[in-house]
Amino acid sequence: MDNVWGYILWVIFPYVALGSFFFGTIIRLAFYGGNITAKSSELLEKKQLMIGSILFHIGIIFVFFGHVVGIFIPKSFTDFLGIPNEVYHMGALFMGGMAGFMALAGMIILSYRRFTNKRVFMTSSFSDLVVNVSFLIVIVLGLSASLIEGTVFHPEFNYRLNLSVWARQLFYFRPNYHLMLQVPIVFRIHVICGLLIFAFFPYTRLVHALTLPWQYIFRRPIVYRKKGLRGRSK
């Protein structure tokens, strides 16, 4: 049974989730690009948003890059640089923990605001609520996995030997699910929840993260458009 579940959870499910992410993103950007917005509710409430939004966004950006480093930089590379394992882990726990708590604090404020502020709540869609709750869950799981489970219950566990390897294998389509069976339970649930967020990412407000307006930095201030040249909408 372990094999069947392992295969479903760590081979089939990740591809379904990531497939959903890429499929949804392509469809959204190609056909529904016009309805992508940051879904701001700043007009309706400003004070709680200020603290919540800034904390969460900065936190989650660091968390994201922390995950990228953790997954894509193999242990062999830091060994080659001569960074001892303990130093790496302390650094990762410290910086990741800081970023994680920032994101968590921000998300708690944002979720409290979304559910208790009448104006914000009444103008929220179901998916807005889901996004808030799922971020809360995944951040709490992530923090408790690395700060409690990884240090107290399984101090010998090193995610860079199995979890990261499996995650890298996903990208060249040869995931070895046995690697994931060595991973402690909270880590595993965190991975599942994280993948779920990726799965619904393009169908929710989260998609605004993909449309950062880089061109603003380089463009001229006043934009003129000639008639007839406007992109035609569907």
């Binding site: 917005t37 007009l43 309706l44 409430e45 900065i58 009444m122 307006p213």
Partner: protein, 519 residues
């Protein structure tokens, strides 16, 4: 020289009676949708007052428009690009107004007014259109209409800051005027420059500033950027919306809805040609009081053959040039200099201009042998009830001289016409003193007082069909998630009742009373 054409508007405040017809027809046309309830693309404010949104002119608070940086170059007051990135303003825009600065939109619980007779008179309570809850009304789009806000909103009017304090609260000497406001369709639009997505743009052919609803990502910098606070955020579509200058009508050569329906005939629409190459230079004029003149300097004489030649070379079509030659805007703003931009000190080069009001002084002055001694108007205007300083703070960046000259001219024109119609003698030299001749005074009188439709609105058709498949756009709606006319089945109670199988007779009995259909 790069010649561009700009559709612009002049409002003759002397004739504005503050009836709000422009606002209401605009609302019926553009913003009667969910998410847009609080938006007034056009609104009429009583001045002095705090306006809508509250204290929108206080740029130290809202950070709208442009300022000159230390090097004397233009910079958005809300922060340049580096500042916006460094301070993570994209996650939270510190200077954006919130709903309470405008007002929370409401409707009334009308249903309680019908039903069985009860002991107490039923009352329709206000219900928020956002949360659906009962609410106490503390603010509205026009809360201080006709000085209803009294000395409180007087004192909070930023234009009153450098006016002697004794005028402020002294109700015997109180004054007021109306200020209809819409998007200024600026030449140097701060909202356009603020938009990270590039969704906001000026139309090349007529300078109308629009929000591309397909590209707007709801970053909200336009709301802060606009010093007039005329870009709004739709909480339903999560996108920015603003006055469109009724571009579908303008393209057909028709005036905007607000202008068409103005009962006082105070609005004028026309084309003006300007030199796009010199806009940045004019905006960087260091002296606030000279910005009005700097902007005037951008406008080109449409009758100058050189300008016409260059305009044609720059792609302005002949019909637009012909309209520019007959433009009431050019006549009032450039030739007669009686119209002024609203707050030129924001450095956006606004293109909706205003003729300052004169009425109170004329009521006082006329009938006091004024025709015999028309020069009495000069000292009288200095002691006008609406202080010239107030008008100058509003319309010329504090330059009182130009406002006075315009008022002299308007007053003298009236005295001249009064003398003529009542068969009195009038010394034409008096006209000369304010820069008028008998002919120009007559034609100015016709433009301002008679204000024929064809004189007020000289608008070229856009010829859009030559470059775009317009047939495809027919029946299209500008704003996303706007059901437009299709809203009737959703909201129309009569249609709902009919669907539910109620008989036509019953619906008639329920919905038609008091001489009107109530839906």
């Amino acid at each position: 020289m790069k010649v561009k054409a700009q559709i612009s508007m002049v409002l003759n405040l002397d004739k504005c009676i503050g009836c709000h017809t422009c606002s209401v027809t605009c609302k019926q046309t553009w913003t009667n949708r969910p998410g847009a309830e609080y938006m007034w693309f056009n609104n009429v404010e009583t001045r002095p007052g705090v306006g809508y949104p509250k204290k929108w002119e206080d740029e130290s608070h809202y950070k709208g428009g442009w300022k000159l940086n230390r090097k004397g170059k233009l910079e958005l007051r809300a922060g340049n690009k580096l500042n916006k990135v460094a301070l993570a303003k994209i996650f939270y825009n510190p200077d954006m107004p919130n709903l309470d600065d405008y007002y929370e939109p409401w409707t009334y619980d009308y249903q309680t007014l019908f039903g069985k007779e009860s002991k107490h008179q039923p009352v329709a309570r206000a219900k928020s259109q956002i949360t659906g809850e009962y609410m106490d009304l503390t603010n509205g789009p026009n809360w201080d209409d006709d000085l209803a806000g009294s000395d409180r909103s007087f004192g909070e009017d930023p234009n009153m800051q450098n006016i002697e304090s004794d005028i402020k609260g002294n109700f015997e000497r109180t004054f007021m005027m109306y200020l209809p406001r819409l998007c200024e369709h600026c030449l140097n639009a701060a909202c356009v420059a603020s938009c990270p997505s590039g969704a906001m743009y000026k139309r090349d052919e007529d300078g109308i500033v629009l929000v591309d609803q397909e590209r707007c990502r709801g970053w909200r910098f336009c709301m802060t950027g606009c010093p007039y606070k005329k870009v709004y955020f739709n909480w339903n579509t999560n996108k920015a919306e603003k006055c469109t200058f009724c571009y579908p009508r303008i393209e057909e050569g028709l005036p905007t809805v607000c202008s068409e329906t103005c009962v006082g005939r105070i609005r004028y629409i026309g084309v003006i040609l300007y030199d796009a190459d010199r806009v940045a230079e004019a905006c960087e004029e260091p002296d606030d009081t000279k910005l009005y003149e700097a902007q005037l300097g951008l406008f080109l004489d449409p009758n100058d053959p050189e300008v016409v030649e260059q305009a044609l070379a720059d792609g302005v079509d002949m019909e637009t040039i012909r309209c520019a030659q007959k433009s009431p805007i050019y006549k009032m703003a450039v030739e007669q200099k009686i119209a002024f931009p609203l707050h030129p000190e924001y450095r956006t080069m606004p293109m909706v201009w205003y003729v300052p009001p004169l009425s109170p002084i004329m009521n006082y002055f006329e009938g006091k042998n004024s025709i015999k001694y028309p020069e009495m108007i000069f000292p009288a205007i200095n002691e006008m009830r609406i202080p010239v300083e107030y008008l100058a703070n509003l319309l010329s960046g504090g330059n009182t001289e130009v406002i006075k000259n315009a008022l002299y001219k308007l007053a003298m024109m009236r005295l001249y016409m009064r003398a003529r119609t009542s068969g009195k003698d009038f010394d034409a030299e008096k006209l000369d003193r304010v820069g008028l001749t008998e002919d120009s005074a007559t034609s100015l009188y016709r433009l301002l007082a008679i204000a024929k439709y064809e004189d007020r609105f000289v608008i070229p058709q856009s010829k859009k069909e030559k470059v775009a498949p317009v047939a495809e756009d027919q029946g299209g709606l500008g704003f996303e998630q706007c059901n437009g006319c299709a809203l009737a089945p959703v909201h129309g109670s009569m249609l709902r009742k009919a669907k539910a199988g109620e008989s036509t007779k019953d619906i008639y009995a329920e919905s038609f009373y008091g001489g009107i259909w109530r839906d």
